[in-house]
């Protein structure tokens, strides 16, 4: 396990950026039709409609992996599984010689719902529609790996929820 990364490593150092725009690296992501952008950040509005999502961007030498998924199951159980997945990801990145910048997730329970139906004065008919699930949005920011290596790490950690 590498303890430190030298300055000759491909984490690159550069001066303060005073420009409003950069030429950015190619990024790959699953939901975009274009193969290459000039700008490595998306222009579209932030949306929670794209599920599941695995997307990798690059910024100032860091790789930013965005994962978004809906996971059926009980909140407590799923949260534990996600915790383990995040731990496994960090270990794998470290094992491959990368550095974890920050891995953070917001995990929200979606569960109870029902339909109410009434056609005339009297009893309301209730139809349960409980589908316990958890919505997870995960930002994975790392240094020191290639996009391909990082993509593999993300699939290893989260792949079962991205199908």
């Amino acid at each position: 396990m590498k303890e430190h990364i030298s300055e000759e490593h491909h984490i690159h150092e550069h001066e303060h950026c005073r420009e409003a725009e950069h030429n950015h690296h190619h990024h790959e992501h699953e939901h975009c039709q274009e193969a290459e952008h000039d700008h490595h950040h998306h222009d579209h509005e932030h949306t929670q409609e794209q599920l599941p999502l695995l997307d990798i961007d690059e910024h100032e030498g860091a790789l930013i992996g965005t994962v978004r998924c809906r996971i059926p199951g009980d909140y407590a159980q799923v949260t534990e599984e996600l915790e383990q997945a995040v731990k496994n990801l960090a270990e794998e990145i470290d094992r491959q010689g990368g550095i974890v910048g920050h891995i953070k997730a917001f995990v929200k329970e979606e569960n109870r719902s029902c339909m109410l139906s009434l056609t005339e004065p009297g009893e309301v008919h209730r139809i349960p529609a409980d589908h316990p699930a958890v919505l997870a949005e995960i930002a994975n920011i790392i240094f020191g790996l290639s996009e391909e290596e990082f993509h593999k790490c993300l699939v290893l950690a989260y792949g079962r929820w991205l199908q």
Binding site: H4, I5, A20, H39, L53, D57, E60, H102, I138
Partner: protein
Amino acid sequence: MKIIILGGFLGSGKTTVLMQFGKYLIRRAGTEDKTSTDTPVVILENEISEAGVDNQLLSSANFTVQNIFAGCICCTSTASLCESVKQIENTWNPEFLLIEATGMAYPDNIRDVLREEAGKQASILALADAKRWKRVVRAMPQFVISQLKDADVILVNKKDLVSPEEMETVQKEVAGYHPGAEVIPVCAVEGHTDAFWEKVLQALRFEQTEL
């Protein structure tokens, strides 16, 4: 509207500090002997990723939050920054606007953009991660040190995760790189008193200097 830019490396504790400091500023507005605005504090949250994580945490704590995703307001999203600041001022005109920068941002760049493109002054409150300081400085020294540049206050966080000797070493290094800043050790996950946050607030410089 006083603008405070909260900066520092990834995972250094910015959001944790923001929640405590923000709540203090809201309490302060309610107890001060003057007419307070309906929304004394608004947070402008910048996420480098497309995933909304910190903003959801802040919203769940009943803060008023505006978001800029998938870009960095110190370089790639400067136009969004200026637009958002103007919109916040027009919509809420809060006493304090807290801008949480991404962990990849240079806060002094953000301040320069606000001054040059929006005509706004801002102060900088920065965080350093005592636990990871040595490792990240070794890997990317220029970047990490530059992130703390021109900060009025630098909170050296995670004092509970290092020995007193290590903490003293990190504090000295941080102070050595940035002699103009007030350097304060903290443990952000613990609560801090109102007196502490008032001290931090008083150390932030909001002077309106002519360009």
